[in-house]
Symmetry: C2
Subunit: 670 residues, 2 copies
Amino acid sequence: MAIDPSPQKFMVVFQPSGRHAYVTAGQTLLTAARDMGVEIESICGGQQTCGKCKVVPDVGDHPKYGIASKLEHLSPPDVEEQNYWTKRRREARQYRLSCAACVQGDVVINVPEESQARKQIVRKSATTRQFTIDPVVRQYFVKVKPAELGGRQGDWERLQASLANTHHLTNLRLDYFALRDLQAILRQGQWEVTVTVWQGSPENKPEVIRIQPGYQEGLYGMAIDVGTTTVAGHLVDLQSGQILATESMMNPQTTYGEDLMSRISYGMLNVDGVAKMHTAIIEALSTLIARAARSAKLKPTDIIDVLLVGNTVMIDLLLGINPVELGGAPFALATHAPQDFKARDVGLKIQAGAYVHILPAEAGHVGADNVAVIMAELPHTQEDMVLIVDIGTNAEILVGNKERLLSASSPTGPAFEGGEISHGMRAAPGAIEKVRIDPVRLTPRFRVIGQERWSDELAAEEIKAAGICGSGIIDLVAELFAVGIIDAGGKFVLDTPSPNFRPTAQVGEYVVATAMQTSSGREIIITQQDIRAIQFAKSALYTGAKLLMERRGIKQVDRVLLAGGFGSYIDKQRAMMIGLFPDCDLEHVYAVGNSAGDGAVICLLSRERRQHAKEIARQIEYIETAIEPNFQDRFVNALGLPHNRDEFPHLKGLIPAITTERKERRRVKA
Amino acid sequence: MAIDPSPQKFMVVFQPSGRHAYVTAGQTLLTAARDMGVEIESICGGQQTCGKCKVVPDVGDHPKYGIASKLEHLSPPDVEEQNYWTKRRREARQYRLSCAACVQGDVVINVPEESQARKQIVRKSATTRQFTIDPVVRQYFVKVKPAELGGRQGDWERLQASLANTHHLTNLRLDYFALRDLQAILRQGQWEVTVTVWQGSPENKPEVIRIQPGYQEGLYGMAIDVGTTTVAGHLVDLQSGQILATESMMNPQTTYGEDLMSRISYGMLNVDGVAKMHTAIIEALSTLIARAARSAKLKPTDIIDVLLVGNTVMIDLLLGINPVELGGAPFALATHAPQDFKARDVGLKIQAGAYVHILPAEAGHVGADNVAVIMAELPHTQEDMVLIVDIGTNAEILVGNKERLLSASSPTGPAFEGGEISHGMRAAPGAIEKVRIDPVRLTPRFRVIGQERWSDELAAEEIKAAGICGSGIIDLVAELFAVGIIDAGGKFVLDTPSPNFRPTAQVGEYVVATAMQTSSGREIIITQQDIRAIQFAKSALYTGAKLLMERRGIKQVDRVLLAGGFGSYIDKQRAMMIGLFPDCDLEHVYAVGNSAGDGAVICLLSRERRQHAKEIARQIEYIETAIEPNFQDRFVNALGLPHNRDEFPHLKGLIPAITTERKERRRVKA
């Protein structure tokens, strides 16, 4: 009788994906998974060292697949696998190493989430953010054949052979600095090393950017949002997606100019202006990274990937490009493409071989930070018509949905961040962040950051107010308007009967905190000029948003997302009362926090999102507000508070009610 | 009657290649050439600016192709071509621009050598060197579409579009530093720029490494041989192949050790030893490049490509790799592959975007310098059995022919370069380079570098000898032996009746130059120890060469090539008299000069040779002399002068003749 020489095959099912196939007896589960496209994590490449590939056999009948899955359908643990589990007895009861267990019967295998090579991650936020962790760097553990006398291959050639054998990695490049230490590290690790491979750009072959002795685990990256005023960065565990540290600091370039135009001018008027601003931001970024590393108990050299976002001028300056072209028409970018440079070329002090990735830009005035916002909020994938405003010194505006998305940039100036306001300050302890004005007595009460209680619940000397931050100013202007201290044009009503109001030559000022209530012992006031600055800022934002809505052919948006660090603290009702954004049901107005920062973290973690960012940045329609013929007129028309009541149906019952009360009070008084 | 709508075609023949085809009427000659694979030079890509593509129409009957070639079979020069020729009237009589002349009849076109994209070059040397100039960098002139308001492309994207249109260059990468200045240069050149593209490694996509404003011509590179003792570099015009400047200097690492082993030790014994030696050589290379640039009336930033060769320890140190592994078995290389790094990473101060290429190594002790020698002499392409010795502080030896080639390395020490010799010095003005000893009177006469006449033709005080260089020492030892002042074992014959010989306690010394004849006012002598050092050096070389010949299965070589700066000045007859290399007909012993340096220049100029070097470095059989079991015995046996007369049939009539004379003299004297 003839014996069938072909090896036996058994059904293997992987859960939760449900992928299944007949597998030749004797194959490891890891190989079977790889062949079926089920991605199981593995750093050691099947050497039963890393334990990343552990799986749970699902014993029992599985009628769906017509099989009975049994433990003995896998080869019993060999000595090496037993050694691995010896130290981990509790886990050993349910897990097997998929690189060791061989198929010898039908089985159903559960791949737990931590063993999946591409982990799904859900970030909780005002909007739900879901994406897959798939960083552009990965670690591979390998055993390398020791050098032999008469052997004709160099250490790098033998390392390449091991990487090809164990991990199927071929065509690798090697970073210069990784080559430098290669020999010492191979010997230090006794011919066992962990190699970090960067595969960040489809244009370049994968590159070995770090070699560590022995078995090593740990990939850390930084996602940094370089704002005109603030630089904020997250240190991220690139394997779990966890944020290990968050740091922020002032952009040191503010010394050279508060806003974008003044930085551009500084670069034009000073021979070494660009170099100075470049050096300042690069040093700041290195400091920020060092701080974040310290709080995560890491070294700066542990950082192996960096993703940067920022507006186009910030990105130019940090790359050392003169941003002069962005200061005037036609606002030409050096490049709109995403960039991958060696961090050392840019000047960042992290791991020598690491890259820095910069997200693409949309146009001269809408940069990588706005692309990051899109990657966080994904407006281009949704049915809802959404308006996203990312409020900073420069505001970026997005309007649209999955059918068509438009963007613009509006120069709001630093008013919302407390800049160019008499007693303005950044959102920091001591800043007045909320204000209410009594509609009858016309006196204020307020809350400062760092205090649980309002000013009227504290003794004056306990309050220690230091200034007003953005959300406080918006509250203040909205309240002043609601109680009638300022009129719809933003002007102080000079006969206002408030003890806190002082009419000065044709203008006036309002005392928010008395000398007793402040840390400096001096009053905190708001002047006519301050109100003017807020009006300019909000009108720029509003006009830009309305222009985009008009171009998109809509009169109303379904949702408004207020992004930016400042956006998180804003009182959305009062923001709409001053006309910061077009009318919307307040239930559908969300403060989404630092959306650009979140998008940066997502793109740091996901190769796919970087590719997606590259594509979407080319698809968005950019509207250049600076060349819009009647933009100036619209801007002037939108300066009022709220400039046109008809445009804000959702304000009904908010301002009108107060207004009636106010009239009543005046009547009684008269 | 139907009209044939297909356009007319005409026969176009390009000379000297003879390639021909029917070409559609109206096509330019440049396009026709490209389609036929005839490579015509063009920097401006057909914009009638560079004139690189000029050709000569060959008017007359060409029966071979059955056509009559006429001037009017080309479209007459248009305004732009007329403008080009206006300034070049003399040339205009015979030339046409192939990018402008369109085919309108049968023509035969001569492509002059200067218009051929790949020029053949022949270097005159002891051996003839022929190769094709095809550098890894090329310049391309382009006109870029200016930035437009509302245009969605960055400057780099528009530049890419132009490069694709005009020069069919796609998939380009852009160097970080080239990006930095891109915008300013585009505007400075009024949207016309010359782009330098590097295409040095098949592993990487082509990269724009420099952007210059307007139309620019000029590509310059440096080929540098980093020797243990001397660093020598050629500045080369990468378009013509011409050497514009040659500079050399001491390797500053000599401070840390004369030979390879002492440098390796220095690196092992000092924490910052490798860093110090790395910095020293990199600074020296930058200085050398700056000097060469100055003498060629260029700036260091004009250098756009660098090729480095050297022994494996020198290459390690200049890359900052600790060479400790090369100090002991198994002599593991970090890598044997050729390397392409950014010059800025290595630390060289040249054009910011430029690369440095390092030729591959054969094995732990045979490095890029020996590969360069092979690329210069091409022993692997020849029928003749050849022995090549590259003499330096470390000597590399090659034996074989096109069927099989073997290499080895021998630590000769610095004696041939004047090191470790009492009055040794490098080949510089004042060095005694030739010596003759009168066989009867046993007194010397000599010639110093910088003097036309011999010492006996000058007044003593005119001579100003400063020391003895390598070729002088070889002459001296050979002559001392020939006249019987030293015996076949290298020992002074203590009863030598010479006024210049002084027997000292059991040893002796010989005065080469008297105090009157030297610049220092002190005698120049050679001691027993000096002779010993020369014997060690020559025996190391000889034993290595004989070992390779044995492995190759030959008793005799057809040719001996003496390479190395020192090899050029050597008296080959006297070199064989001391047994520096195995027996060979002196007619077939050639001093080929700095062969490694020539090979470096060739590889700097030829992409193909670099590829070839990569392949050949893997094919050569390397013999590790250090582990050859009876190498030490052979070495001791070869210390004599010449150690075994039977092995040197070609010495017959040289030493024997002198020996007879010597015996006669002694007899008379006795």
